[in-house]
């Protein structure tokens, strides 16, 4: 109980001008890529609380990257900054000319982190990849991430190539967020069982405000889909449309959203709808009018069951799951989805 109320401290660090605040604004504050030009340099540390999946609050510390600030972080502010860190996100600018110096700073940060929060997750984003020619991207990224790993001491580091101009940003942040959600395994187990019941090729859970992929399950057939970056692309597509809808219904992007979307084509059927307060569920089922309607109906039932179970009243009677898992679903509700 205590753990889920706890705020997770997330440090966002990197050299000045590497794009930390820009990506934070796009993911969490509904900016579009070209709007970030308006952002100025971050002075000292900007704290923000980001609500994600309802009661998982990320306490995001956006640390200004100018050398003077970096020195204070490592010296006088050391204990304050680096204690109780759940996640460190370090952003490298691929265009930087002082690669060695960047890596030295990074190493110093890692040392400080291992001193105060040795259990933190570390993510490194190799950012602004759009500036590299497409054919060299993969090679340069791999070289860079190997160097980063070699300077990361005992931490197991996840690296991502990213750019605010395409879907890679969503991939990186979905990867980060995926690590932070408690009891994800329970949610995944539920989704797998559910996907099987309704014959879905793919079931994806998106977070409501950021449209980041929380988790997804695919069937054996769905696994054969040759487009590997489809989740990020979906986040990108849906978020762009959300901006369009907000513009044309005179609201802010934060309050715009979808109630439900149905799409039927000869190759696939898609349902997108609110699942819990903080998530959208995205179903891909093979064509077939009747089975599609069944799938949608079952999703509605599962949703009711979800909130009913969370309220602790009726138990999971509308819940399309085998009995042994029902208890775990209570746990899911407790952790991810308030009623």
């Amino acid at each position: 109980m205590d753990a889920r109320k706890k705020k997770r401290k997330v440090l966002l660090m990197g050299k000045s001008g590497s794009g930390k605040s820009s990506m934070r604004s796009i993911i969490f504050s509904n900016y579009v890529a070209k709007d970030v030009r308006r952002l100025g340099a971050t002075i000292d540390v900007e704290h923000s609380h980001v609500k994600f999946m309802g009661n998982l609050t990320l306490n995001l510390w956006d640390c200004g990257g100018q050398d003077a600030f970096m020195e204070t972080y490592l010296a006088s502010q050391r204990g304050n900054i680096f204690s109780d860190v759940a996640v460190l996100i370090y952003v490298f600018d691929i265009e930087s000319r002082e690669v060695d110096r960047d890596l030295d700073t990074y190493h110093a940060i890692i040392e400080a982190l291992s001193e105060f929060s040795p259990n933190a997750y570390v993510f490194c984003l190799v950012h602004k990849m759009d500036l590299i020619q497409a054919e060299h991207r993969q090679r340069i990224y791999e070289e860079r991430s190997a160097v980063i790993r070699s300077r990361s001491s005992d931490f197991r580091v996840d690296t991502f190539a990213s750019s605010i101009w395409d879907q890679s940003l969503y991939k990186a942040w979905a990867g980060i967020v995926h690590k932070l959600i408690p009891n994800l395994i329970v949610i995944e187990r539920f989704l797998t069982a559910f996907a099987k019941k309704i014959n879905a090729e793919e079931v994806i859970l998106f977070e409501r405000s950021t449209f980041l992929t929380v988790t997804s399950v695919t069937s054996e057939v769905g696994d054969l889909n040759p487009i590997y970056d489809r989740h990020e692309r979906l986040s990108n597509i849906m978020k762009a449309f959300k901006h369009c809808a907000a513009r044309n219904t005179l609201t802010t992007p934060a309050s715009a959203g979808f109630v439900v979307m149905h799409t039927k084509t000869p190759q696939f059927n898609i349902f997108l709808g609110r699942f819990t307060d903080n998530t959208y569920i995205f179903l891909v089922v093979p064509p077939g009018e009747a089975s599609y309607n069944c799938a949608v109906l079952n999703t509605m039932l599962a949703r009711e069951g979800f909130s009913k179970a969370a309220a602790g009243s009726g138990g999971g009677d509308g819940f399309p799951l085998p009995p042994p898992e029902t208890t775990e679903d209570h746990a899911t509700n407790g952790n991810g989805n308030p009623a």
């Binding site: 014959n199 090729e201 057939v221 054969l224 889909n225 040759p226 487009i227 489809r230 692309r233 979906l234 597509i237 849906m238 762009a240 449309f241 369009c244 809808a245 513009r247 044309n248 219904t249 609201t251 309050s255 715009a256 959203g257 979808f258 109630v259 439900v260 979307m261 149905h262 799409t263 039927k264 084509t265 000869p266 190759q267 696939f268 059927n269 898609i270 891909v284 089922v285 093979p286 064509p287 077939g288 009018e289 009747a290 089975s291 599609y292």
Partner: protein, 304 residues
């Protein structure tokens, strides 16, 4: 192509002919601005003979007097020999101008051209003016209007859409060409940019999602019967519904519905749209049978 990438387009040096195969076959001739096509080397009949519409682009941010003078000469020639050609003037790049200056420029250009025309004795020449910019949807809107004039049975289509929209309580309905996102007909209510933008972006969403999930593989099996054409709708946070239905290979019908009851009557809406689809396909097959006018319309673009 997104607007910011057009920077890298090179200047056109010869006549480019692009064929567009859609519900109607068009050929767009892109003329280099510096080309002097009234010289004897060019066969006027070849250029203007089968022309449906002439699109003339004027740079509103530049000194346009020269361009207007050339346009006047062109119009006079065209009027003299080929009075059936629609002349469409795009006053372009207006995104850089203030609202006031924009209107002034517009009026100035219109004035200069119509003066010249009435001096030459042409009243009511088929010349139309549009303010356009590539940074919003105005250029799509303008091209839509140009294309609509070339469609022989536009009024039939509009009547059909009106009937559908009135009966289903649609706020606005467009019949889109999916590839170009030009609308070839809409109901006769005033055009609302916001509606157009949402509809056109929604087509994008559906096309993009389809790209992700339309892969072919022998193990993909269908679970039952379903209608062949794609159908989709989305309900937004303020209960606005956008409804999209594929009509044939090239066209789809997109409607904005703000009636809160619409959600419960989706079956009815779907059925009405299917009826409309049948009617639409009948209209098109008729016009092809008769081989009526302007099936192979052409439009030419010339720029300064």
């Amino acid at each position: 192509m997104p607007p910011n990438e057009t920077l890298f387009l090179e200047s056109t040096t010869r006549i480019q002919k692009d064929s567009i195969h859609s519900f109607m076959d068009f050929q767009v001739w892109d003329f280099p601005g510096q080309l002097e096509y009234f010289e004897s080397a060019f066969d006027l009949e070849d250029i203007f003979g089968s022309l449906g519409a002439l699109v003339w682009v004027i740079d509103a941010q530049d000194d346009y007097l020269d361009s207007v003078a050339r346009l006047n000469r062109t119009i006079l020639t065209v009027q003299q020999f080929y009075p059936g050609i629609n002349i469409e003037v795009f006053i372009h790049k207006v995104d850089g101008l203030s609202d006031e200056y924009r209107t002034d420029t517009f009026q100035d250009i219109v004035q200069r051209i119509s003066d010249e025309l009435s001096d030459a004795g042409y009243e009511n020449a088929p010349v139309h003016y549009y303010l356009t910019s590539i940074y919003d949807y105005s250029v799509f809107e303008a091209f839509s209007k140009v294309i609509q004039k070339l469609i022989p049975n536009l009024s039939t289509l509009e009547n059909l859409i009106n009937t559908l929209a009135n009966n289903c309580g649609f706020e606005k309905t467009y019949l889109f060409d999916v590839l170009s996102k030009i609308y070839i007909a809409s109901d006769t209510r005033p055009v609302d940019m916001a509606c157009y933008e949402m509809c056109s972006d929604y087509i994008d969403v559906i096309v993009d999602i389809s790209e992700l999930y339309s892969w072919d593989h022998p193990v993909r099996k269908r679970l039952g019967d379903q209608i062949q054409e794609a159908e989709s709708h989305v309900v937004l946070h303020d209960q606005t519904m956008i409804h999209l239905m594929e009509m044939n290979k090239y066209l789809c019908l997109v409607s904005v519905i703000r009636n809160p009851e619409a959600k419960d009557k989706r079956g009815l809406i779907d059925m009405n749209c299917r009826t409309f689809q049948d009617a639409l396909n009948e209209v098109f097959s008729r016009s092809w049978e008769e081989g009526s006018a302007a099936q192979e319309g052409q439009s030419a673009t010339a720029s300064k």
